[in-house]
């Protein structure tokens, strides 16, 4: 019989597949989650707080009331 050379492939990983998958995917999931949270905080949460702060910074309630009163909004005055 002719001798044939046999090439052996490396033994595949048979155990701990979830752990080795998680080694990549868990930090990736945490990173995606963190980036989404930070973007939400900057573009939604902080923007709304800034809008409220801006509105009330120089807000003159009496002047606004006079404007509405002259426009006929109120029934009491």
């Amino acid at each position: 019989m002719a001798e044939k050379s046999v090439q052996k492939i490396p033994k595949p990983q048979l155990r701990g597949l979830l752990a080795s998958s998680l080694k990549f995917h868990l930090p990736a999931a945490i990173a995606v989650s963190a980036v989404t949270t930070v973007l939400f905080k900057i573009f939604w949460v902080d923007r709304r707080r800034a809008r409220y702060a801006e509105f009330y910074k120089n807000y003159d309630a009496e002047k606004d009331f006079e404007r509405m009163r002259k426009a006929g909004v109120f029934k009491s005055c």
């Binding site: 999931a29 989404t36 949270t37 939400f40 309630a61 029934k75 005055c77």
Partner: protein, 228 residues
């Protein structure tokens, strides 16, 4: 009031509602964080080629998915409880008004002043009048001074109702035979709208509430006129 395409909470007219809106934003941020993580894991599960026919348990994973949500809930609970107790604080109200729910209108009593009581019925909608809001206008508005801490006592004369003003963050059930107390401070002038929020019969959708937030001087003038 809510205008078209308004999916969020109404702009606040009181400091408590402002805090409620910020708390809502904080909770939405945490929900977005959880959603991003869950969507990532869903996607990775879909493209995953691993198979384990003999999987029985995963103690470590079960420990993590119990502890991590508990920690997340702590981040939600802490501001929530702070706000809950803040809402119950009462800072020397300058006046108390009573609200009584009827089928199907609200009546108001300003007992701190002499003889000030009135009913508030919904104004029927006139299609060609572009300056009125359908199902929200009333014949008599609840006039209140701005920048003043006000106590409101809510009850009902017949069936359950609920006195609600979204922009103040108030929803108080009107229960016959019971007095429910709430309090608020309005920090800007204008008209604040609300609707009955407890099913009370055929015209439950047709008994709105309108608060007129006016300056203290104008409120005093108005009260004087009504007291005469």
């Amino acid at each position: 009031m809510t205008t078209w395409s308004c999916m969020n909470l109404q702009d606040s007219a009181s400091p408590i509602m402002e805090q409620l809106i910020f708390f809502h934003d904080h909770t939405m941020m945490i929900i977005t964080m959880i959603l991003a993580m869950v969507l990532y894991f869903m996607a990775s599960t879909i493209i995953n080629e691993l198979v384990d026919r003999y999987m029985l348990e995963g103690q470590t994973m079960e420990l993590m998915w119990t502890i991590v949500p508990a920690v997340i809930l702590l981040f939600i609970t802490t501001p929530s409880l702070r706000l809950l107790y803040l809402m119950d604080e009462i800072h020397n109200p300058i006046m108390t008004i009573k609200t009584i729910g009827h089928q199907w209108y609200w009546s108001y009593e300003y007992s701190d002043f002499v003889n000030v009581e009135f009913d508030s019925y919904m104004t029927p909608y006139e299609g060609d009048n572009k300056s009125m809001f359908r199902l929200l206008e009333t014949d008599n508005h609840v006039t209140l001074p701005m920048h003043s801490f006000i106590r409101i006592i809510v009850t009902a004369a017949d069936v359950l109702h609920s006195w609600t003003i979204p922009s103040l963050g108030i929803k108080a059930d009107a229960t016959p035979g019971r007095l429910n107390q709430s309090s608020f401070m309005i920090n800007r002038p204008g008209l604040l709208y609300g609707q009955c929020s407890e099913i009370c019969g055929a015209n439950h959708s047709f008994m709105p509430i309108v608060i007129e937030s006016v300056s203290t001087e104008n409120f005093i003038e108005w009260i004087k006129k009504l007291s005469e």
